[in-house]
């Protein structure tokens, strides 16, 4: 028969204090900043190298990141990979509108070797023609696949509306632009931009921080500090206006995207805005998710989050909704944004959002790789991890009034830039009942 289970939901234990790791830092003469954190859980080391790469040509930058480990004058792509494997490791590169990021890991006993290979490609990557050609076709394939995907198309339309003439307005290259890239152009971009000035190397693991920084200095101290920097202008303010409707004939779902104003991590409103976003749609138990997913079933996975970039931040709201409920889904979205911007939240839901925010902070720092990524991201905003203590304190003390004030300031639907990708013949009229609409 029914076994004896315990009926009562247990009380919450006392909240544990945030433990912040100690960061050791040194700026090398060539401009490279090295941050090292000892986290001896396992004998591994995580490596993150962040190099400012704003305003770089998109197609060339993407190919550069994909072929950086594809050979030097002395070594082939296989030899480089084998050398990294001999220390149980691997490194790879990626690029976004702000930076080029090289990340990887390996056995801590192989840190010197990892750093040597890193230095070899940073100073001597050869971008062999056959490797560039292979990666070029792979990248073109990926771009072509993306162009058939509604989430990509909706993102492209939203960025265009948000950023106008700012470099962030376009973040993926066209297939034709990639096809036109020659190895010499990648080498030129490498010579011009892949330099230590403004770059940050983060090392996290079972290391002695001073000795790890010495090793980094030995390997990367001679990395050429020349080249040029490119400054990103601040992002323009959002210009609310009619909803931009992008037609995708016979789409079975509509992609709804909204951008709202947000503040940088260093701004005093950052913590309260984070809480306001959680209450609205920032996690599973939020108002908007409960409304349009759990209650009405309009969508599978709506999401809302703050995106921080070097030149500015924005709050992005996204949902894929069934075509026939596109109008009602927009109505509920306006309603939940407006409700939070107009009425203070309940104590209970604020507490739950606060627990979630503090809990994810703890979980995010509990592994070497999570810690390394966090330290690198924060360094990109000019911050160190000790800033998290301040942030956690702000999260802990935010009141209902603080959150209501932030919601009124940042989440008001009247300030939203809205884009919708869907079957215009079916969704345009329902949308016009709620807001002005312009065709893209």
């Amino acid at each position: 028969m029914t076994a004896q289970t315990v009926k009562k939901l247990p009380d919450l234990g006392p909240t544990k204090k945030l433990k912040l790791p100690k960061e050791t830092e040194r700026k090398l003469p060539n401009g490279l900043t090295v941050l090292a954190i000892r986290r001896p859980a396992v004998p591994l080391v995580e490596v993150r190298l962040r190099v400012p790469f704003g305003r770089a040509n998109l197609a060339r930058a993407a190919l550069l990141s994909q072929t950086l480990f594809s050979g030097t004058a002395e070594k082939s792509t296989v030899e480089i990979a084998a050398e990294l494997q001999s220390v149980g490791g691997g490194l790879s590169a990626g690029v976004d509108p702000d930076r080029l990021m090289i990340s990887g890991n390996g056995l801590v006993s192989g840190l010197d070797r990892l750093l040597e290979v890193l230095a070899e490609v940073l100073t001597g990557a050869a971008f062999p023609a056959d490797e560039v050609s292979t990666e070029r076709s792979r990248l073109i394939d990926r771009i072509q696949v993306a162009q058939s995907q509604p989430s990509h198309l909706a993102r492209v339309a939203l960025l265009k509306r948000m950023y106008g003439k700012h470099p962030y307005a376009v973040q993926t290259p066209e297939a034709d632009q990639v096809r036109a890239v020659r190895p010499a152009q990648i080498r030129a971009l490498h010579g011009e931009r892949l330099h230590p000035a403004g770059a940050t190397l983060v090392l996290v693991g079972d290391i002695n921080p001073e000795r790890a920084i010495d090793a980094a200095e030995k390997a990367l101290g001679t990395w050429n500090g020349g080249g040029k920097q490119a400054d990103l202008p601040p992002v323009p303010e959002l210009v609310p206006g009619p909803l931009t409707l992008v037609d995708r004939p016979s789409a079975v779902q509509s992609s709804l995207r909204m951008a709202l104003p947000a503040v940088r991590r260093t701004h005093e409103d950052h913590a309260v805005l984070q809480l306001a976003n959680l209450l609205f749609g920032g996690y599973f138990s939020s108002r908007w998710v409960e409304n349009i997913r759990e209650d009405k079933g309009y969508t599978y996975g709506p999401s809302s989050g703050i995106e921080h970039s070097e030149a500015g931040s924005a709050l992005i709201v996204a949902a894929e909704v069934a075509t026939e409920v596109t109008g009602p889904a927009l109505l509920e979205t306006f309603y939940e944004l407006g409700r939070l911007a107009s009425l203070p939240p309940k104590d209970e839901e604020l507490e739950q959002a606060r627990q979630y925010a503090l809990g994810t902070l703890q979980l995010g720092m509990s592994t070497q790789s999570g810690l390394a990524s966090l330290a690198s991201t924060y360094a990109g905003s000019g911050l160190r991890l000790d800033y998290l203590a301040e942030h956690a304190a702000r999260l802990a003390k935010a009141t209902r009034d603080d959150v209501a004030a932030a919601a009124a300031r940042y989440l008001a639907p009247s300030q939203a830039v809205t884009v919708l990708l869907g079957d215009a013949s079916k969704v345009e009229q329902p949308l016009r009942a709620l807001t002005a609409v312009e065709r893209a």
Binding site: T5, K16, A41, V42, L44, Q85, Y356, L363, S366
Partner: protein, 445 residues
């Protein structure tokens, strides 16, 4: 060539560099605790010793469908509340089913440990009263969509479903895939699932591991508080014995023409059970053969002969413990390369393994496996899953510490021996995918 590795692979002094404490409740639940105060986070992990190998004919897919039902509410936890409570605490959670077992796990801030134990105990002891026909119908549709999304609607997605019946004879517990058949899922009755829970979801058929910021004494007391009242089950039926399947006597081939972008070949062999000395050698062999751009497959087929697409060469063992586990080697043709040329290239590389691998390859494979092992145990969640695995499958969580030293001790001769014995062409399963348009010339002929 690359210089021989001089890297010292770090080894834990006692196999497993964290404390392990175990207790058994009166109802048979085994509790494993490994304290680690590095971060204020705790992982809770439960292994139930039930998987698709327990499913009789006509009930394939039941263990996995059942895993879904475990999130749909229990006697004191309303539908969707489990998810809401864990995520609302900042935690993460999931569950998986494979042929051997079903596991459930969550990682939460340490102050929410008691909540996680309460939730797990409620669905271990109190699922049946909350299980309704509506929930079953709903989750059956979810699983059928999962089958479509992961296996049917994806190029090559059904390879695993096709390989298993070719590798294991009818009646063998690994003959069918965990996802099961649509027909069996459609026929599933509520009573069958109620019986399934009563039979297998008993405290004496489970291991509970808790790793992180909690003391063993506290965890044992909480485990007793929440699980102690659950009744054990006396006679849990074992899965059919699959440890000695009938020997393979001839190579088997299957060719599938499907909506795939390029020809792909799978070569599969039955090897040895996970946990055996021989399987450790197979693991080292598979790593040298298929892991990353330094691997033999990449060098020979992607970089050298340019037969295979660089992103899709692979070799891996599937870590199953209750019968000889499979080793699967795969490559996908580049533009302009036909299946025959690709297969010839792949077979040549695999057949040459009987001559052994080089000392460099052995060293690199061991270094990669060391990183993989340490990464697995670098998170409290990974560590908890390992402890549950070794307690469930080998009777002692501390045996989690044996694997890394065992891999590091594998010799060149042992690799040669398993390659010679297990990869014989006459025991090989070859599965070939051909794009649909490659069939056109034949049809028009």
């Amino acid at each position: 060539m690359v210089a021989r590795s001089d890297t010292v692979v770090p080894m834990p002094p006692n196999g497993f560099p964290w404390p392990i404490e175990t207790a058994r409740l009166d109802n048979g639940l085994r509790v494993v605790v490994s304290e680690d105060r590095t971060a204020p986070v705790v992982a809770v992990n439960l292994w139930y010793d039930v998987g698709s190998r327990h499913e009789p004919d006509g009930q394939t897919g039941f263990a996995h469908l059942f895993e879904h039902l475990m999130f749909e509410g229990s006697v004191h936890v309303p539908k969707t509340e489990h998810m809401r409570l864990i995520q609302g605490s900042g935690g993460s959670l999931n569950a998986t089913t494979n042929p051997d077992r079903t596991n459930y796990f969550e990682t939460v801030p340490a102050e929410h440990l008691e909540l996680a134990l309460w939730l797990e105990a409620d669905r271990m002891g109190g699922l049946v009263p909350a299980l309704t026909q509506e929930t079953l119908d709903n989750q059956r549709e979810v699983v059928k969509n999962e089958r479509r999304q992961r296996y049917e609607n994806v190029p090559y997605g059904d390879a695993w479903l096709r390989l298993l019946p070719l590798l294991y004879p009818p009646g063998h517990p690994y003959h069918h895939a965990t996802i099961g058949s649509m027909a069996d899922l459609n026929a599933a009755a509520l009573e069958t699932f109620q019986a399934f829970h009563s039979t297998y979801y008993a405290p004496n058929n489970a291991v509970l591991s808790v790793v992180g910021d909690a003391t063993a004494a506290d965890v044992f007391a909480l485990a007793d508080k929440y699980f102690g009242g659950l009744a054990p089950r006396a006679d849990i039926p074992p899965a059919p014995d699959g440890t000695r399947p009938a020997p393979v006597t001839a190579a088997v081939r299957e060719t599938v023409t499907a909506d795939v972008p390029a020809p792909r070949i799978y070569l599969a062999h039955r090897t040895y059970p996970f946990g055996s000395r021989e399987y450790d050698a197979v693991t080292v062999l598979a790593t040298a053969l298929g892991n990353g751009r330094g691997s033999r497959l990449y060098q020979r087929l992607a970089d050298g002969a340019r037969l295979a697409q660089p992103d899709y060469v692979s070799a891996y063992g599937v870590d199953l413990a209750h019968a000889p586990a499979p080793l699967i080697v795969s490559a996908t043709a580049r533009d302009g390369i036909d299946a025959a040329a690709l297969e010839a290239g792949l077979v040549e590389v695999v057949d040459e393994l009987a001559a052994g691998i080089t000392a460099d390859e052995l060293d690199r494979a061991k270094a990669l496996l060391a990183t993989a092992w340490w990464r697995q145990v670098s998170t409290v969640a990974g560590r908890a899953d390992s402890l549950s695995r070794y307690a469930t499958q080998f009777g002692d969580p501390a045996r989690a510490g044996e694997r890394l030293p065992a891999w590091q001790a594998v010799t060149l001769d042992e690799v040669t021996a398993v390659a010679t014995e297990a990869l014989r062409p006459e025991t090989r399963v070859t599965l070939t995918y051909l794009p649909e348009d490659s069939r056109l010339p034949e049809e028009s002929a």
